[in-house]
Subunit: 225 residues, 2 copies
């Protein structure tokens, strides 16, 4: 029966998601994966071509889904700011629901080779483009000021980094976190000016901590006893 076939495949992927997240892709053996799923080696290789294909699938799925959801948002006629905020909610929800797989993605996609690496890289780049475009629309509509394009990378990190610290048992839902983050990002952390506007912080030049490894003869060495 088709459903069984697909269900077994999903069980393998779920187990792999768990193990790869905890131990890394190269750190997890096929034997161990078989034990976790409760299948012999032959059965596992009946459902999948190789260990790398498992990693590929884990890396591919969620990015692909995000792109699809981004496309849905683009197809709706929405104010740019609303669209971007919706995107951040979708992103945070996806990370929360598939945290382990996102960890596998970030920590192990360098283990992918050939066309599989290319495919995943392209999906990741495509998603970044879409987010960058949504931010650009906010600028075009005048709700965002024009900032250096590199800030897009920062914004992505702002949200993506959640794969490392998000906890299911936390007090906030992924959507609440996304809204808090969006507010921080859009309105900034600076306190609104009350009376006299504070001088611009630029060129007030924070002090230099100094280049590393100066003054101490061998600052990196810990075995000098």
């Amino acid at each position: 029966m088709r459903a069984d076939r697909n269900a077994t495949r999903e069980r393998i992927l779920a187990a792999a998601g768990r193990l790869f997240a905890e131990q890394g892709y190269h750190g997890t053996g096929v034997d161990q994966l078989c034990k976790e799923v409760g299948l012999g080696k032959g059965a596992l290789y009946y459902h999948l071509d190789s260990k790398e294909q498992v990693l590929f699938e884990l890396c591919r799925r969620n990015v692909a889904e995000l792109i699809q959801q981004a496309n849905v948002l683009e197809s709706h006629d929405l104010p740019a700011r609303v669209r971007l905020q919706a995107m951040t909610r979708v992103l945070m929800r996806n990370i929360a629901d598939h945290q382990q797989e996102w960890q596998v993605f970030f920590h192990n996609f360098e283990a992918l080779t050939g066309t599989r690496a290319q495919t995943v890289r392209r999906l990741r780049d495509r998603f970044e483009e879409l987010v960058g475009s949504m931010i650009g629309q906010c600028v075009t509509e005048g709700v965002f000021r024009s900032v250096h394009p590199i800030v897009v990378k920062g914004v992505l990190g702002f949200f993506n980094y959640a794969y490392l610290w998000y906890r299911q048992d936390g007090a906030l839902s992924p959507e609440e976190i996304a809204d808090i983050f969006f507010d921080a990002l859009a309105n900034g952390l600076a306190a609104p000016a009350v009376a006299a506007p504070e001088p611009s912080p630029r060129n007030v030049g924070p002090p230099n901590v100094g280049p590393r490894n100066v003054g101490s003869p061998n600052p990196r060495s810990e075995n000098e006893s």
Copy 2:
């Protein structure tokens, strides 16, 4: 001569940083590391106890240095905002100068075991505390508005994520990037209100994209040809 001993150790760590970043910790063999350094196995194990110790050292050093630099900044009597901005510059500089090692850190620190894992985890947490404290000082001094503590995680991601996208041959120096990021974070992306202040975006509720896997019978499967 002592210097030779230390120099060889550094050569090993540098080579390991390159290889671990490209292939992952478990994906790199000791034989390969030996070949990269140009040493036999015995020589390598003369300088280091185990492969894991190499990973430990790569993960430990940069976080430790950041903490030390943060402590230096704390010891200076500075406006909180200036201190925080200086911290972001130091952080971005460190990531830029040791990008590969930061990649090793983020992608492979789950491979550390026992006390080594504990040590690195504690250093990472300590650094997060220091940054959180610096942001808290900004709130105390009234230059930042009070935001939910979870935003600290976002801010860290904003900068840390650079380990993935920073390029040496880029147009901007790490410090310039840090300043652009700090400005974006402090002042926000929203365009300054011109005439009528726009209504608060909260509760304007962006539309729901809908739960995943609804409507399409088997949305995750790609092999249905």
